[in-house]
Symmetry: C2
Subunit: 204 residues, 2 copies
């Protein structure tokens, strides 16, 4: 049996508020200016409650990133590669354009600025995504949609990278247009990448 | 004739030191914690000299970003599309892996967090890059390397995005390996994208 800690029991709603405020502040200010006090203020909760739950800002940001699934899951299995990729690209576009998209981008940048702190988190995300993505390509090979030597790296780098590049290169004032055209863009992009993949790695 | 301002004439070496320190600090801390005092300390120059030259942190970061050409030029014309792309990808990889790569990535992220401040800078970079990149594809069409309906957006999003994704997804401890394998990766990537482009947009 776990020994109950001191103080009141945890309040799930307070936790949720704190995690949400933490991500919003992190997206806005970055790590250098991220403090527990600012999170408590933004969340509208007492400092004591916040410090009891998260004794350090490192612990809080790690939990916030985990809770928000800052990068969506790649564990998709619809039965065809094209449909798997359609769902993958759709969820990445929704993520980058959604409330946690900026936190996710910052996380990648700050993993380079503060590797000791953020590399464990990005490392876990990266490994699970790489494994899930490889599974997706492996299933396509097993179904005879691609040849056995198909490169998951090139297929995923071009697809996911294009989405990232597209979002970063679109100016703020065109964001709503981009949102409206996202499904059409995703289809053209998947066509483009699958054309390369099936030409270079034809099924046996 | 411009009227000389008060105080001593500008010292080019002090300027260079300040701009370099500004970019390093910005890459490390982000905008929220970027101050003129911290830049003066990092550069080892007097606060008065720094404030005389740059009365605000906004002006300093704008000049620093401009001076460093945080994103390399896309104005490349070697005579073949493949060689143009090889040089483009080579300079993007060198940029992301170089001393200003992190500042460049941060700039894109912070343009979303602080659009009023950074959008003018990223807007200028974006427009000149888009025009240069379109020229590159247009010349390839004129030489008969691609059909007239070739999409510069898809070709450039997949190429530049893959480079970005590749750099962001590579953990710190594999960075030296990535650097060593960068030319081979660039060649495979260009093959992949040109396969899609020439299959979908065959020359007449």
């Amino acid at each position: 049996m776990p020994v109950p800690g001191p103080g009141r029991p945890r309040d799930a709603q307070v936790d949720r508020k704190a995690l949400r405020a933490a991500l919003a502040l992190y997206a806005e200010l970055g790590w250098a200016k991220f403090t527990l006090d600012a999170v408590a203020r933004r969340a509208g909760i007492g400092k004591a409650a916040l410090y009891r739950r998260w004794p350090s800002r490192e612990k809080l940001i790690a939990d916030a990133i985990e809770s928000a699934l800052v990068v969506p899951s790649f564990d998709i299995d619809t039965g065809t590669l094209r449909q798997d990729l359609r769902e993958l690209i759709g969820s990445m576009l929704a993520h980058y354009l959604g409330p946690y998209g900026l936190a996710g981008l910052r996380l990648h940048v700050e993993a380079r600025a503060y590797p000791e702190l953020f590399s464990p988190v990005t490392g876990v995300i990266r490994k699970s995504r790489v494994l899930e993505a490889r599974q997706m390509i492996r299933r396509a090979i097993a179904r005879g949609e691609l040849g056995p030597e198909a490169s998951p790296t090139l297929i995923l780098d071009t697809l996911l990278g294009a989405v990232l590049q597209h979002v970063l290169a679109t100016p703020e004032e065109l964001r709503e247009d981009m949102r409206a055209q996202a499904p059409a863009y995703a289809d053209r992009l998947i066509d483009f990448v699958l054309t390369a993949a099936t030409t270079l790695y034809p099924p046996d």
